[in-house]
Amino acid sequence: MSKSGFNRRQFLETSGRTVVGGVATTSVAAMIAPGGAWAAGLTTLDEPTADVLLRVCRVMFPHDKLGDDPYRTCVGGLDMKAAKDDALAKQMKDGAAALDNGGRKFLKKDEAAQVKALTAIEDTPFFKTIHGHVIVALYNNPKVWGHFGYEGPSFPLGGYLERGFDDIDWLPEV
């Protein structure tokens, strides 16, 4: 049989084994209980540290329509890395403590003040470690893609040839 000329239905039938999978999801997400607490498991970082980091992640990359869960997933990822990296664990704990100045001060500030506090430390290894982690952990999480209107892997669905690759309808005639 020719490899060519599939319509979408035929294509999906022949590629069916790849319909599930294909996306590298982070298993970290499953370890963090949705809805607030860290109850489902911080392995290395303590809760006060994790609480500060959670807020740092959101102030760094604020998406108001996203709940806390994807940000918790980011902190969960840092916790997993810290479990295997003592230096990172110390960096997170010390960095969060310094930001919080021993109390709940960072968390009690308003966003503008929190931005100012982060701006003051944006050249530190602590900040850069978190930034480098979150830019991947937040945006490479398929659970947030719907918020951005991004549909993710298309091969399992036969591509966009018959699913809107050229459906733009607001451009002026040329």
């Binding site: 020719s2 490899k3 060519s4 000329g5 599939f6 979408r8 294509f11 790849t18 294909g22 996306v23 590298a24 102030v59 760094m60 990359f61 604020p62 998406h63 329509k65 931005v115 982060l118 944006e122 930034h131 830019i135 991947v136 937040l138 945006y139 490479n140 947030v144 893609w145 951005f148 209107g149 991004y150 549909e151 993710g152 892997p153 298309s154 091969f155 399992p156 036969g158 591509g159 966009y160 040839l161 699913r163 809107g164 690759f165 050229d166 459906d167 733009i168 607001w170 451009l171 002026p172 040329v174």
Partner: protein, 523 residues
């Protein structure tokens, strides 16, 4: 599958299996020449191993061995350990490329004569003309199945293209179309046609985009004249007392050193690894590295003047639906010094998924300025500007004085300073891109700095005079007649076009020359 003996000194050893190496190897094998192709990366199966996963595929196919950077280019600040976005896998960077297949322009092949000398630039004319290349361009376009050649229809334009097209035409640009692409718009050559998946950079899961991985390599294997050894990283090229190369030392998949004898060695490891290998092959006889009498090995590193424009619109675009490089505006690729710079640039669409757009849009930034753009992701259109950058002798791939790789060899440092001409062209291109998007209603325009380089060129450049470059018009090194360079490092100047078609063209032409010289007993 054919296997050649390590002691077989009748084989041509090709180092690398991408656009240059993979094509050359197949062309030679088709002519009956015995070829051993050594590829540093693993062999993947596009039907099993490729997925629509930006980070996942990046980790699987990219060249991630240690490299360092220096110079004032933005890449050294944003991605100091990743100067280049190229591949370590069978198929090389033809797995990652977007498929744009453009011929160089006649005047670009004689940049020095046409532009005149430019301060700080090491400009030179190529020792070949467009008419030398034209018959080989025709063969390359047929091999790759380039759309808008050989009666092959253009690809249909996706949303991202339609935005660029509408803006460009409104501004009066004339040369606007969905590109000359090595992506099948209809089934051809045993490969299926494009289903507008997106994810061209992640390896085409359809096999609709030409890659040596599933074209040249299997075709070469069918001849019985070819063996590819994946996970074989070449460490050194050896030579005899007569100054001829005799074989290569490589680390196999287990890290053991092997020596493959060779009648001819062809280096096609892309413009960072190829000069690095020549430099790492220094000997008592050639203390500055092989083929380096001119001192030009590693120098004149070019990476194209690049930048991107991403714009936010009031209405949805969904740029990620469809081919990544979905169309082109070529009007600015002319040489017109009245614009304030020499040479020209192409404007091509580009699109990324949420994961990579976040990483590349404005590296290092954070806060609401950044997230407000990301929040509008599905309302964004993107375009890439890619133009001729100036060869500068001080822009160079050199061996790091202290850092070593996993094999104990000095890692390459990639030094690049932007030339004034590059900066002026980038400014012009960013303004042109913004105007195109604004012509159809963009309400916010983001100027995205260069990504790590995918177009790496010039570090073993072609020259008529042996003191001006590393190889002659056949890619044969000036110093050693059985040592060839077969990748983009041959480019004398960068021109404004995406380089793959020209790399393939040069490889087809070089295969004719090598076969002829072997036949005559000259090498």
């Amino acid at each position: 599958m054919t296997k050649f003996n390590l002691n077989d000194d009748n084989v041509v050893v090709v180092i690398g299996s991408g656009a240059g190496g993979g094509t050359l190897a197949n062309e030679l094998a088709q002519k009956g020449v015995k070829v051993v192709c050594l590829e540093a990366g693993a062999r993947l199966d596009y039907t099993e191993d490729f997925s629509n996963d930006e980070y996942g595929m990046f980790g699987k196919i990219s060249w991630l061995d240690k490299r360092t950077t220096s110079g004032d280019w933005q890449v050294a600040k944003d991605f100091p350990g990743l100067p280049a976005w190229i591949c370590k896998t069978v198929g090389g960077t033809t797995v990652h490329w977007a498929g744009a297949s453009l011929r160089l322009q006649e005047h670009e092949l004689r940049a020095l004569s046409h532009y005149g000398a430019i301060d700080g630039a090491n400009l030179l004319d190529w020792p070949i003309t467009l008419s030398d290349l034209e018959p080989y361009y025709a063969k390359a376009e047929d091999k790759l199945g380039v759309t808008r050649t050989n009666g092959i229809p253009g690809l249909p334009g996706c949303n991202n293209y339609k935005v660029m097209e509408a803006g460009a035409k409104k501004l009066g640009y004339q040369n606007v179309h969905s590109g000359r692409m090595a992506i099948n718009s209809e089934p051809r050559d045993g490969r299926t046609s494009c289903r507008q998946l997106g994810f061209c950079f992640q390896g085409c899961r359809m096999g609709a985009k030409w890659s040596t991985l599933y074209t040249e390599i299997p075709a070469a294997e069918e001849t019985g004249n070819f063996e590819i050894r994946p996970l074989s990283h070449v460490l050194k090229i050896e030579h005899n007392d007569a100054g001829k190369v005799t074989g290569v030392i490589y680390a196999d998949k287990d890290g053991n050193h092997q020596r493959q004898s060779a009648r001819v060695v062809c280096v096609a490891g892309n413009s960072i690894e190829s000069p690095r290998l020549l430099l790492n092959s220094a000997s008592n006889r050639f203390p500055d590295g092989l083929a380096n009498t001119s001192g030009q090995v590693g120098r004149n590193y070019m990476r194209h003047m690049t930048a991107s424009v991403y714009s936010v619109f009031d209405n949805p675009v969904n740029m990620y639906r469809g081919t990544t490089m979905a169309g082109i505006v070529s009007d600015e690729s002319r040489h017109d010094p009245s614009r304030g710079f020499s040479g020209g640039y192409e404007i091509e669409t580009i699109a990324m998924g949420v994961p990579f757009l976040a990483a590349f849009l404005l590296p290092g930034t954070w806060g609401r300025d950044f997230t407000s753009v990301m929040d509008a992701y599905d309302h964004i259109a993107g375009m890439w500007i890619v133009g001729e950058d100036m060869p500068q002798e001080s822009n160079a791939v050199t061996l790091h004085a202290a850092e070593k790789d996993q094999y104990g060899q000095p890692v390459p440092n990639v030094h690049y300073d932007d030339h004034q001409n590059d900066l002026a062209m980038r400014r012009h291109g960013l303004d042109a891109g913004a105007r195109i998007h604004e012509a159809v209603g963009a309400n916010k325009v983001i100027e995205t700095p260069p990504y790590p380089s995918t177009h790496n060129l010039g570090t073993n450049r072609m020259s008529a005079n042996a003191m001006d470059g590393v190889v002659n018009k056949w890619g044969q090194t000036h110093d050693i007649n059985n040592l060839f360079v077969s990748d983009g490092s041959q480019f004398t100047t960068s021109a404004s076009e995406n380089p793959t078609l020209t790399i393939v063209t040069l490889a087809i032409r070089q295969a004719d020359y090598i076969a002829e010289q072997l036949g005559k007993g000259n090498i």
